[in-house]
């Protein structure tokens, strides 16, 4: 331990925090993929439920670990308070992605199944978009690529209107209530997950006071 202390580590504590944040995003996507696989034909099972819950639990643990590390970073007085506040904010977004992914699995538990839907491929395309968005966001966040972050925010922003339109369509649909509710909730969760991914990315390009403002309606953002 003495030698380790004086030798130091190749990874700074902030590097460790960022790596954990990236892992949280990837784990959020893992939960999402597992949950949507169940929604698109896999169905509910003890194993899937266990997998979803345990990955979500890991995400929660990682969030607490990051909060502790941020508190230590602030207490040591490293002098980068904006970074501590930004990470304290976006770690919550990363955690929420896992939560909404878990909610998608709840739809399966309630009986939702999109496998036989007429528009199955279209519904699955939305899933693929969100999954890719989370993975891309993790990569962009890890590389601190602000230009890529802006491009990805723009892309994600385009999805939001689409989700709203799909929720509206579900509300007006003449199908069964359970199908309408499943679709409305599915798109609502996709919208929330997309918004949280955008929040994480805004940390790369937005000042501290403007974090989190991408999940509002466009006219309310300024």
């Amino acid at each position: 331990m003495v030698l380790e202390f004086f030798k130091g580590s190749s990874q700074s504590p902030i590097d460790t925090i960022e790596a954990t944040l990236v892992q949280m995003l990837c784990a959020g996507d893992d939960v999402f993929v597992t949950a949507t696989n169940a929604l698109f034909g896999g169905g509910k099972s003890k194993e899937t439920k266990q997998e979803v819950r345990s990955t979500d639990h890991q995400i929660n643990e990682a969030q607490q670990e990051i909060r502790r590390a941020l508190m230590v970073h602030a207490a040591v007085g490293a002098g980068d308070l904006p970074l501590v506040l930004q990470y304290a904010s976006i770690v919550k977004d990363a955690e929420r992605i896992g939560d909404y992914a878990k909610n998608v699995y709840d739809l399966v538990r309630y009986g939702a199944d999109f496998d036989a839907a007429d528009d199955r491929d279209e519904l699955a395309r939305y899933r693929d978009n969100v999954s890719r968005l989370i993975r891309d966001a993790a990569g962009v966040f890890a590389s601190h690529d602000t230009e890529a972050a802006k491009r990805l925010i723009g892309k994600a922003d385009g999805f939001l209107d689409d989700y709203d339109a799909r929720v509206k369509a579900a509300y007006r649909s003449e199908g069964t209530a359970s199908d309408a509710v499943s679709r409305a909730l599915y798109f609502r969760y996709l919208k929330r997950m997309t918004a949280h991914v955008m929040n994480v990315l805004t940390a790369l390009v937005q000042p501290l006071d403007r974090l989190d403002y991408y999940d509002e309606a466009k006219e309310d953002r300024d």
């Binding site: 331990m1 202390f5 504590p13 508190m71 490293a78 802006k150 940390a203 790369l204 000042p207």
Partner: protein
């Protein structure tokens, strides 16, 4: 707002503190400051020596009662907010032969108590939120109570037997000795050379041996104070990441790992107050338990003794090394007395928690405690006893 119109962030994720000084330059500066610190101790010693017998300056002058010496140690440390400055000055005075070991030992113990005021003051910043304050004040004052209990046990024992002084003398005499109770330190020669550069400058200003001595003492104390402050500041920046990593390790563990973290961080930054003050917000926020912070605090007590040991190397006098070793032994014996026995291990923590509970109900008690223990009692004690 369209995504295409994203504003350029005035504060996107900014990695690490804005370091204007490259780490290598800072490291070299620390080595230079360390050298200057040793020169400061030697200047102090030389100044006191040149003034002659019985003229040890200011606050430490003419103290004979051990309790009064203890209070002087507390008060001096509270005034300079650094036990390292006090203990280094004591080492210089002992090395110069102007402060007897019997008086210096309680002063060193007082310095140990006095240094705990810093994190206690830090804890007062949490007064707005009761639970946070209770935890913060407990974390801070457990250090006070550990040192107070250690002094309450070891000072009477030392007065009766002189065991710390005798043991430290035995260890100090193991060092390769030179003539006249001195020892051969490689640093001694280098420090002497530095003092030799300053001496002619002072001699051009004054020819009076008294003024010369006073100038050396004042310059010595000023150099000790400034260099220690700058060493702490620079080391804290240099090893901030290592401190963080170590504390992250200590969060999940207690006992010896925590104690080792306390020693390492304190040796590195040359300040127990930095280590213990870092712990206060961590305990206040609930991520570090008071009982897990306790061994780190005890480690800081040991780590802080390295400064006096370094100062003793500059003096090259057995007496100076003896008092520095007393500082180390006092802290080690204190831990050995209180920590290994489970029933009394957490006594300082329990007392601190009880006081904190009272202080949460009556906030003025916390301020009164600081004023009474660290200022009023030492002043009244010195006035009455000496």
């Amino acid at each position: 707002m369209e995504s295409a119109e994203l504003p350029q962030s005035p504060s996107p994720i900014v990695r690490g503190p804005k370091r204007t000084i490259p780490p290598l330059v800072r490291a070299v500066a620390v080595i230079a400051l360390l050298y200057l610190f040793l020169v400061g101790v030697k200047l102090l010693e030389s100044g006191v020596e040149s003034l002659g017998s019985g003229t040890a300056g200011g606050l430490f002058d003419g103290i004979t009662n051990p309790l009064a010496a203890l209070f002087v140690g507390i008060l001096a440390t509270v005034l300079v907010q650094s036990s390292s400055v006090t203990t280094s000055t004591i080492v210089g005075l002992v090395a110069a032969g102007q402060l007897p070991l019997e008086t210096a030992v309680p002063m060193i113990m007082g310095a140990n108590i006095g240094t705990t005021i810093t994190n206690t003051i830090v804890s007062l910043a949490h007064a707005r939120k009761s639970e946070e304050f209770r935890l913060a004040f407990s974390a801070a004052t457990m250090h006070d109570f550990f040192n107070l209990i250690a002094v309450a046990i070891l000072l009477p024992l030392e007065i009766a037997t002189g065991f710390l002084q005798k043991t430290a003398t035995w260890f100090a005499e193991l060092l390769p000795s030179g003539a006249d109770a001195t020892f051969n330190s490689p640093i001694k020669g280098a420090v002497k050379w530095g003092v030799g550069l300053i001496k002619p400058v002072i001699e051009t200003i004054t020819s009076s041996s008294t003024t010369f001595g006073v100038a050396f003492i004042l310059l010595g104390i000023a150099i000790i104070f400034i260099t220690l402050m700058l060493i702490t500041k620079n080391m804290k920046v240099l090893i901030a990441a290592r401190i963080e990593t170590s504390i992250n390790v200590a969060l999940a563990k207690s006992g010896m790992v925590g104690m080792m973290v306390g020693i390492l961080v304190t040796v590195a930054v040359q300040s127990s107050s930095i280590t213990t003050s870092i712990l206060v917000p961590l305990v206040a926020s609930g991520i570090l338990l008071v009982r897990n912070a306790y061994p780190i605090t005890l480690g800081a007590n040991i780590g802080t003794t390295v400064t006096a040991l370094l100062a003793a190397l500059a003096t090259g006098v057995v007496g100076g090394m003896t008092i520095a070793l007393v500082h180390l032994l006092f802290n080690i014996v204190g831990i050995l007395l209180l920590y290994p026995i489970p029933k009394i291990r957490y006594l300082p923590v329990t007392i601190a928690e009880k006081l904190a509970t009272l202080a949460v109900a009556r906030k003025w008690l916390a301020v009164a405690y600081v004023g009474i223990v660290f200022i009023a009692i030492p002043i009244v004690g010195i006035l009455i006893l000496d």
